[in-house]
């Protein structure tokens, strides 16, 4: 088909939904007839969404495409507090599945025209009457636009069972509204050439339906006693999130150790400078489980050098590192989260992290001879 639109009509439809999501912040979104999963693939970046679900009749297609919805490599590198679960189901939109109730937004992009006319009524019953989401977005071709396609006779797609004019679509929509308690706005994407916008309308017409009744968990869901689950779950993935305590702990520990190492290094450098100035730090007589402690008389908590160990106070880390504050919320929370981690060694009072000072015995065995650019041929390398 000649490309009449830039970006393509397909892209414009998806952009319309994405734009709606950005303005209205739905938490649970379902795409009916998700097909190639390309809309879901775009929506997953908008992390106000917590649950993103797709359903399509063609299970083979979903199986082929579903791995494209897996988290990106980088989602694992620096997860955020946002949570997202993506699920794909095989099923027919004329069947009621209890897992599709209670959504904020349900989209049906270029779907209804593929349904036999007899299925249209069950479809609206399922979507508006049973799923009953806050908002429904339905798009379908506007047949008034068809004469603008050169050489097109009949429908735009061989599988289309019907293509509606604006009046036909709107009258169907208004019937649905009055039956299930929604109000609809009509718009579209794909503008007609200048001057003909009024006469022809958009290439794709879109109805945005808002539910009038606001109580979500009232009687609306009480009336169907038995819950049916006719759809088959094909794919489900939970994106990494800092709300997952294990992930949060992992990140806190990494961040904490990174800063602790940094502070330790600075401290040790300062210490050597002082020694060179022949101004030794005071010796702490209290000793402790790590032997001698060198101590400074600063009011601010500082690092200490213990017997071959350096103690870095949590308080100091907390003050230095904004990321730690952001991740853990409070110092006590931080302590609680990290205290059992096997990577972290703490003092008895649980007020400081203990690190090895590693000053000796840490020579590069390879910088023996000519230059430090040495013989690694015998050393295994792998990266």
């Amino acid at each position: 088909m000649l490309q009449l639109f830039k970006p393509s009509l397909h892209t414009q439809r998806h952009d319309f939904v994405v734009d709606f999501v950005r303005r209205n912040n739905p938490k649970k979104v379902a795409d009916l007839g998700c097909g190639e999963c390309s809309l879901l693939g775009k929506l997953r970046f908008h992390r106000q969404i917590k649950l993103l679900v797709g359903v399509d009749q063609n299970g083979a297609k979903l199986r082929k495409k579903m791995h494209g919805l897996a988290p990106l490599s980088t989602d694992y590198l620096q997860p955020t507090f946002d949570q997202l679960c993506v699920q794909l189901y095989q099923g027919s939109v004329t069947q009621k599945d209890a897992r599709f109730r209670g959504f904020d937004l349900v989209t049906s992009i270029e779907l209804i025209e593929h349904l036999p006319l007899d299925d249209l009524e069950p479809f609206s019953k399922v979507v508006f009457g049973y799923m009953a989401p806050q908002t429904v977005i339905i798009s379908t071709p506007n047949s008034e636009f068809n004469p603008l396609f050169p050489g097109l006779s009949g429908f735009r797609h061989s599988d289309h069972k019907f293509e509606w004019t604006r009046v036909e679509f709107q009258s169907w929509a208004l019937n649905v509204c009055s039956e299930f308690g929604y109000k609809a706005e009509f718009t579209g994407v794909g503008r007609a050439p200048p001057g003909q916008e009024q006469r022809i309308g958009f290439c794709t017409q879109i109805g945005v339906f808002h539910r009038l009744m606001v109580d979500r968990d009232g009687h609306m869901f009480g009336d169907n006693a038995e819950d049916n689950y006719p759809y088959t779950l094909l794919y489900s993935v939970t994106y990494p999130s800092l709300r997952d305590n294990n992930i949060l702990r992992k990140f806190l520990v990494s961040e904490l150790l990174c800063w602790a190492e940094k502070l330790k290094k600075e401290w040790l450098e300062k210490l050597t400078d002082k020694l060179e100035e022949a101004n030794p730090v005071e010796k702490d007589e209290r000793g402790g489980e790590y032997g001698d402690i060198f101590w400074t008389n600063s009011p601010v908590p500082q690092c200490h050098t213990l017997h071959r160990h350096v103690s870095v106070p949590l308080q100091l880390l907390w003050t230095c590192c904004p990321k730690l504050r952001e991740l853990s919320g409070s110092l006590s929370n931080l302590r609680q989260l990290i205290v059992d981690d096997p990577q972290i060694k703490m003092n008895r009072q649980r007020s400081a992290v203990i690190l090895c000072s590693l000053e000796q015995g840490d020579e590069d065995p390879n910088d023996l001879t000519d230059s430090g650019y040495a013989e690694r041929s015998h050393v295994e390398e792998e990266h």
């Binding site: 088909m1 830039k6 970006p7 892209t11 952009d15 994405v18 734009d19 950005r22 999963c37 775009k42 970046f45 908008h46 992390r47 106000q48 083979a60 199986r63 082929k64 495409k65 791995h67 897996a70 988290p71 990106l72 490599s73 694992y76 590198l77 620096q78 396609f149 097109l152 006779s153 009949g154 429908f155 735009r156 797609h157 061989s158 599988d159 992992k250 990494s254 961040e255 904490l256 150790l257 990174c258 940094k262 840490d362 590069d364 390879n366 910088d367 023996l368 001879t369 000519d370 230059s371 430090g372 650019y373 013989e375 041929s377 015998h378 050393v379 295994e380 390398e381 792998e382 990266h383």
Partner: protein
């Protein structure tokens, strides 16, 4: 329209459409490539296709298939496995067998899994024709698979060629499809070939299926390997994240088709490029920031927050910011708004500069070739920078995580096979095609060559075969030959006066039992500046100076470089640099001084030890190259050739060449030089020459075979028409995926040095073998792969293997066995010194010395 032209025109159309960074479709499903060759073969077949499948016809077709590449991402792929190179057929003496005989047998396991298929398994290849012709591959695919009921759910289609696991009832199947706009399309599916499991196309097909499987297991593809992002290891002190993963290749090995898989680790930075740049600016200051930044970043690979693609940073757009716009559709949009609207990503820093990546490969529905602009804030660095690689602590901490002992490594590999067998989706996919993988690692028998005896003057001794080291054994034994050192300098700074004195005393002490005659050194103090160090050298190094020892106060590369430059190029004199820190610890000084004195000796032409070399008039040549990515992408080729029977004296030559020039072009002269030098030493030309060629990248083997061998023969010919020595050319590869484990009492160990494998895991089309020649303290040992690509020596494989192993004993900078034959390591060391420090060709006067050790 030919598919090549079609692909090009399509690319251009898209190019006009948008130049946005990272706008991309999702990864297209695995497809057979649509590239020119495939198209050609496809069309060729179309004409001749519907004939009966006589055996010859099938053979002919398979032979024609050498050129067909199936790329699972639609792009044209290099043949990384050099599968097209068949060298064994040209060598009569190894046609029947290429196995050696000496040594004692050893039970081994290798990181290979057999591919199991049903008996009589065949892959059916069909040609698919569309009437009217359809341009878009995606559309062709969609139209064809409207008939999934007829074709089945297991299929692999590239737009022209279709693979199915079953035979359709008729040879020609005509299907009717309809496009979205109601156009009727007739599709003709014609059976063209039945591919046996060993056909090259099948192998590519297996690889595609295996990649699908890894994806099903939730692994992320980065580059050529697959990683598990869900189970990362972190090294917080360096802000590194390591993803464990696997490399995987399926190839026809000696007797079976196998999956070779090894553990791989991907190093990622847990910070964005923007963070990295901020740190860098803090460290180096605003003045040198632009230079340093470009130097550190260019060439690195980044991952983005909005897709799973990797980009190579080619440049930095210092004049661009996220507020700049690009054209999308009919309108201009800023990068900032684009990422916000499309991906919900808020760019915090509007003043950051952008990164430039030249996207080379166009894959279906993706960004056009040409520069893509990337936002540093949205990119993560992968891999290590050169600076990190040179940082001993980082490398040590990394290897603590990535080095796996054989038992652990084998465990990881078995876990992969377990996961494939456990996963229902993966099993479903394999079942569709009638394939499966063996659950156990391949076991095979290798041989352990007997240890060599090390000869020093009239004495000889053995070494512990497990440690492969004779540091202790050689203590107090006289060297074969050491030139008396009468006139030499020792330079030091005032600060290191004490270290220099004690070094000198220890050198005298350790030299005596080695029979190195060492006269008193002239001690010269220098000021710790690069210029004054150079001035000191200029004043004091005379023609009669035999050796200059410099005690460097710090590990500063510029001082080291200027010493080496002056003493290798301007005023050719053997030199020895020592870091003051290295000689500052009294308890280690004896050991270190011994190493230094040995190094000094061989830099002046000393001969330390030897092993018995049974072949006479033999010249062994090592070739390696170094790619200088920083300095104008120059490459440096080094050639080192033996000059005597003991393999203790060497001729060394290095050639700098510009990008695009073949390594051998420069080394042809060096080769002739080596022959002439050999003549000078021996009063005759060598009657046998064995060339060990290192530094051959994946996919470059055909170049060595088709081009370099001829160059070498040309060099030999230039000595005289009637001079016809026996010649062998061996390609040496150290970075390979093959791992061998000694299998004993149900446990895995590193095989001992001297382990040779020349069956099962070798390739049928090559005369190749593996030798484990080193002992490692940690992790798993890596065997070295030797591929004899040209051989008129008539040497039995056993002799070739033993000679190769002997040569691994002859590297004078290491009192033990190394992973490659000594001339390769010498060539490597020479190329490295020139590439890192000299950037010029060293003086000819040093050609006969191992001055670069």
């Amino acid at each position: 329209m030919a598919s090549r032209a079609r692909a090009r025109s399509r690319g251009r159309a898209r190019g006009q459409e948008t130049a946005a960074p990272g706008i991309q479709a999702r990864e297209p499903a695995p497809k057979v490539s649509e590239q020119a060759e495939a198209g050609l073969v496809g069309r060729g077949r179309q004409k001749t296709a519907p004939v009966a499948f006589s055996e010859e016809a099938a053979l002919e077709i398979s032979a024609g298939f050498h050129q067909v590449k199936i790329g699972d991402r639609g792009g044209r792929r290099r043949d990384f496995h050099d599968a097209e190179v068949n060298t064994r057929q040209t060598m009569e003496h190894v046609k029947a067998s290429k196995s050696g005989t000496s040594g004692s047998p050893i039970q081994l396991s290798a990181n290979f899994f057999r591919i199991l298929s049903r008996p009589q398994w065949v892959l059916y290849q069909y040609h698919v024709d569309f009437k009217p012709p359809m341009e878009s591959r995606r559309l062709r695919s969609a139209l064809l698979f409207q008939h999934e009921r007829t074709l089945g759910n297991a299929h692999c289609f590239d737009g022209g060629i279709l693979f199915l696991p079953q035979r359709l009832p008729n040879k020609v199947t005509v299907l009717q499809s309809m496009t979205n706009n109601g156009e009727k399309v007739e599709i003709t599916v014609t059976l063209t070939n039945e591919l046996p499991p060993t056909s090259p196309v099948c192998l590519q097909f297996y690889n595609i299926i295996f990649r699908r499987i890894l994806r099903l297991l939730g692994m992320q593809q980065i580059g050529r390997n697959y990683y598990n992002a869900k189970d990362p290891l972190s090294i917080p002190q360096h802000r590194l994240t390591i993803w464990p993963g696997y490399t995987a290749t399926i190839l026809q090995y000696e007797s079976a088709i196998m999956l070779c898989t090894d553990v791989s680790h991907k190093v990622l930075r847990s910070e964005t490029v923007l963070d990295f740049m901020a740190n860098l600016r803090q460290r180096c200051g605003p003045h040198s920031f632009t230079d340093v930044c470009a130097k550190e970043l260019v060439g690195l690979i980044v991952l983005t927050k909005y897709n799973n693609k990797t980009y190579r940073i080619d440049d930095i757009a210092w004049d661009q910011t996220p507020c700049n716009t690009f054209t999308r559709g009919d309108t201009d949009i800023s990068f900032k708004n684009y990422y916000k609207n499309q991906y919900g990503l808020e760019i915090q820093d509007s003043n950051q500069v952008l990164l430039i990546s030249h996207v080379k490969r166009v894959t279906q529905g993706q960004t056009p070739p040409g520069p893509a602009l990337l936002i540093p804030e949205l990119c993560y660095l992968t891999g290590l920078t050169d600076r990190m690689r040179a940082d001993y602590t980082i490398m040590k901490d990394l290897s603590a995580h990535t080095k796996l002992v054989p038992e652990q490594r084998a465990g990881r590999l078995l876990r992969l096979s377990e996961n494939i067998n456990k996963d229902t989706e993966a099993q479903r996919e394999l079942e569709k095609w009638g394939l499966n993988f063996d659950k156990q690692l391949l076991s095979l028998t290798g041989r352990v060559l007997p240890p060599e005896r090390i000869i020093q003057e009239s004495r000889s001794y053995g070494y512990n075969p497990r440690t492969a080291d004779w540091t202790r054994e050689m203590r107090g034994l006289p060297l074969i030959y050491s030139p008396p050192l009468q006139n030499w300098l020792l330079l030091y700074t005032r600060r290191n006066n004490r270290e220099a004195q004690s070094l000198l005393e220890t050198l005298y002490k350790v030299a005596a039992p080695l029979r190195i005659s060492l006269q008193k050194a002239v001690m010269i103090e220098y000021e710790d500046h690069q210029e004054s160090l150079l001035r000191t050298l200029q004043h004091n190094v005379k023609a009669e100076t035999q050796m200059v020892v410099v005690v460097l106060a710090s590990n500063r590369k510029d001082k080291y470089d200027s010493v080496k430059k002056y003493l290798c190029v301007d005023c050719p004199t053997p030199s020895q640099c020592v870091l003051a820190r290295t000689v500052s610890r009294p308890q280690a000084l004896m050991t270190i001084a011994t190493k230094i004195v040995l190094q000094m000796s061989c830099k002046m032409g000393g001969e330390l030890w030897s092993v018995e070399i049974p072949l006479k008039q033999l010249m062994v040549v090592g070739i390696d190259c170094y790619h200088d990515s920083a300095a104008g992408k120059r490459s440096i080729g080094a050639l080192v050739a033996s000059l005597n029977q003991n393999m203790s004296r060497w001729y060394s030559k290095v050639k700098l060449q510009n990008r695009g020039q073949e390594i051998m072009d420069g080394l042809k002269m060096a080769f002739a030089g080596a022959l002439k030098d050999f003549y000078k030493f021996n009063k005759c030309f060598p009657s046998r020459i064995i060339v060990y060629r290192d530094g051959v990248g994946d996919g470059q083997l055909h170049n060595v075979v088709n081009y370099e061998v001829a160059q070498i023969i040309g060099s030999i010919k230039s000595m005289g028409q009637d001079y016809m020595p026996k010649l062998s050319v061996v390609v040496v590869k150290k970075r390979i995926n093959c791992r061998l484990f000694e299998h004993s009492n149900g446990k895995m160990f590193n095989p001992p040095p001297g382990t040779v494998v020349d069956t099962e895991v070798t390739r049928p089309e090559w005369y190749d073998f593996y030798i484990v020649s080193t002992a490692v303290n940690s992790g798993s040992v890596s065997p070295t792969h030797y591929n004899v690509v040209y051989d008129t020596s008539g040497l039995k494989p056993d002799h070739m293997q033993r000679l190769t192993y002997k040569l691994c004993h002859m590297y004078y900078n290491w009192q033990g066995i190394i992973a490659v034959p000594a001339p390769c390591q010498y060539a490597h060391k020479l190329a490295f010194l020139v590439g890192q420090s000299l950037h010029r060709e060293p003086s000819m006067e040093l050609d006969d010395l191992l001055f670069y050790l």
